[in-house]
Amino acid sequence: MNAMNAMNAMKLMKAAAVARITWRQQLAYKTDFLMRSSFLLLILFVFVQLWGAAYQGDTTRVINGYTLKQIIWYLVFTEAITMAVPALCGLIENEVKSGDIAIRLIRPFSYVGYHYSSYLAEAIFRFFIHLAIGSIIAWTFAGPPSFGVGWAGLFALTLGAITIAFLLNMIVALCAFWVEETRGMEFVLHKLQFTVGGMLLPLDLMPEWLQRICAWMPFQAMLYFPARTAVNYGEASLLQQFGIQAAWIVVLAAAVMFMYRRGVAKLHVNGG
């Protein structure tokens, strides 16, 4: 038992070291950050105008359970999560194409574990930055985020949400072990997140039949759950949402491990 604990502690130390170096690397990309952030400002500004028109500027009106303020903050939260997710597919595809994967595989650290540590560090960092920037717009145009315990719900569900995003992206990324291009699949994945994941629109605003389909897909657990819980806490059981997230994490992680084992055995490392 003690040996087991020691081993897990070692793994955590490794993950922490990867996280640290990822943060250091992130800080080296200041320009990239500024670009993304100003883009976020632009998107949110457009949506504020759009929703303002849809609600005809009426701040008391409620559409399918959302006021104008809630909708705008909902968007800030989904955008913060979406834009926090690093471009994993491109990264892994490049590692496979250039053969740099060799550098990862000579280390005593699991390949998927390494990428998860690095991904999580980058995602959390970017989530908070984008959340801060998005808040400026929402606060200015829609009023303060007085969601009380909703904030706790947001943070609690965001960890599971970005983990699910990692696993979904990893499944697509690992296809690079078999096919040359994963960009097409990545495109489809992102568009699914935008729509049935509830990035642009809370699922409650969608037609009944579509909502039923969405309930059976993992995408709602990565954007809709945390953002809806933040603005409308208590509308759905937090425990149930955790349960759904956990179930998807188990299923998707099993898929990732299966694909990785199959893929790495037939890997063709290019170059050098």
């Binding site: 640290r20 170096i21 080296a28 000579i106 699991s110 890997l267």
Partner: protein, 332 residues
């Protein structure tokens, strides 16, 4: 503890490569009915390396050197055959083996490009679970030996290739690997840096008994570092012999490249035994010298006596030529 560092038996790797037909119609046909072709990268390699040995693994591009190294480090799974590296099967016990081996791929960097090398040192120390005080001592020792002090806090992207390679090799020594794979460690470096890197590798081999398995295009790396050379070609072993023998029989040629101040007049060339004019291109002349029949100094001496020279370099013949030579002499 056994004295064998690594051993392979009939180790083979076959890749299936999708064939692309030429042109647009070809692309469309490939889409409908893809053609696969098997490419044998490594076929049936039998090899044993003892602990503490420094072995050169040579061969022209595409001979299967890197593929073999990648199988021995557990990155690639072989198509058939067996291998034991430090008593472990690399592709089945990759992570376990990783603690005990190191690898430098000359064309791939393990340093974090936008960060100073010291950050990579720290990361690697965590990944290999090094004890903190031991790590600090080891790092400082390597920094001193490889003279990395001035570069440690400069982002890697701003380092020269030679500075970077010194960092790459130093990092790979950090966890005291028992076996080190060096894949083209001196590629693209200038003579002085090459020399320095060879000295350092030799030093660590001597002091720590590190087994070194090296691939290189540079006959100089082989001559100066290794006691044994294994030459592979088309995926199979062509020659496995002491470097001394290789030197005597194959590396006994040197190439002198001259740039003359005036045009070349072949009649002025000394009709010396053991020299052969390989190429004349305006004022540039390449002469091969057979060291078994004459020596470099004598040839250079008589050349300087007869011509006005602008530039002279003396080099080893390229690897391709060495291979051809081994082929010609019946594979040793």
């Amino acid at each position: 503890m056994t004295m064998v560092a690594l051993q392979t038996h009939a180790l083979s790797k076959i890749f299936t490569v999708k064939q692309k037909r030429a042109g647009l119609t070809g692309s469309i046909r490939s889409l409908i009915k893809p053609q696969w072709e098997e490419k044998i990268a490594v076929k049936g390699i039998d090899l044993t390396v003892q602990r503490g040995e420094m072995v050169a693994f040579l061969g022209p591009n595409g001979a299967g050197k890197s593929t073999t190294i990648k199988m021995l480090t557990g990155i690639l799974h072989p198509s058939s055959g067996e291998a034991q590296v430090l008593g472990l099967t690399p592709w089945r016990e990759r992570a376990k083996l990783a603690y005990r081996i190191g690898a430098v791929f000359g064309q791939k960097s393990q340093l974090w490009y936008h960060l100073p090398p010291i950050d990579t040192f720290d990361l690697i120390s965590r990944i290999y679970e090094l004890d903190r005080s031991e790590y600090a001592a080891r790092r400082n020792d390597l920094i001193e030996r490889f003279e990395l002090g001035p570069y440690l806090n400069i982002p890697v992207r701003k380092l020269s290739l030679g500075e970077r390679m010194r960092c790459e090799i130093a990092v790979s020594f950090l966890h005291r690997p028992q076996l080190l794979f060096l894949d083209e460690p001196t590629i693209g470096l200038d003579v002085v840096v090459k020399q320095r890197i060879r000295e350092l590798i030799r030093e660590v081999n001597k002091e720590e008994g590190t087994t070194v398995f090296l691939t290189s295009h540079d006959a100089g790396d082989v001559e100066e570092l290794c006691s044994r050379a294994v030459v592979i070609h088309h995926g199979g072993i062509l020659l496995d012999a002491p470097v001394d023998r290789l030197k005597r029989e194959v590396l006994s040629r040197k190439i002198i490249s001259l740039t003359l101040a005036s045009g070349f007049d072949p009649t002025m060339l000394p009709s010396q035994v053991g020299t052969e004019v390989l190429k004349v291109e305006g004022r540039r002349v390449k002469i091969a010298v057979d060291l078994q029949q004459t020596d470099i100094e004598a040839v250079l001496g008589s050349l300087i006596g007869r011509f006005r020279l602008e530039d002279v370099t003396v080099e080893d013949p390229p690897m391709e030529e060495i291979i051809t030579h081994i082929y010609g002499s019946g594979g040793g």
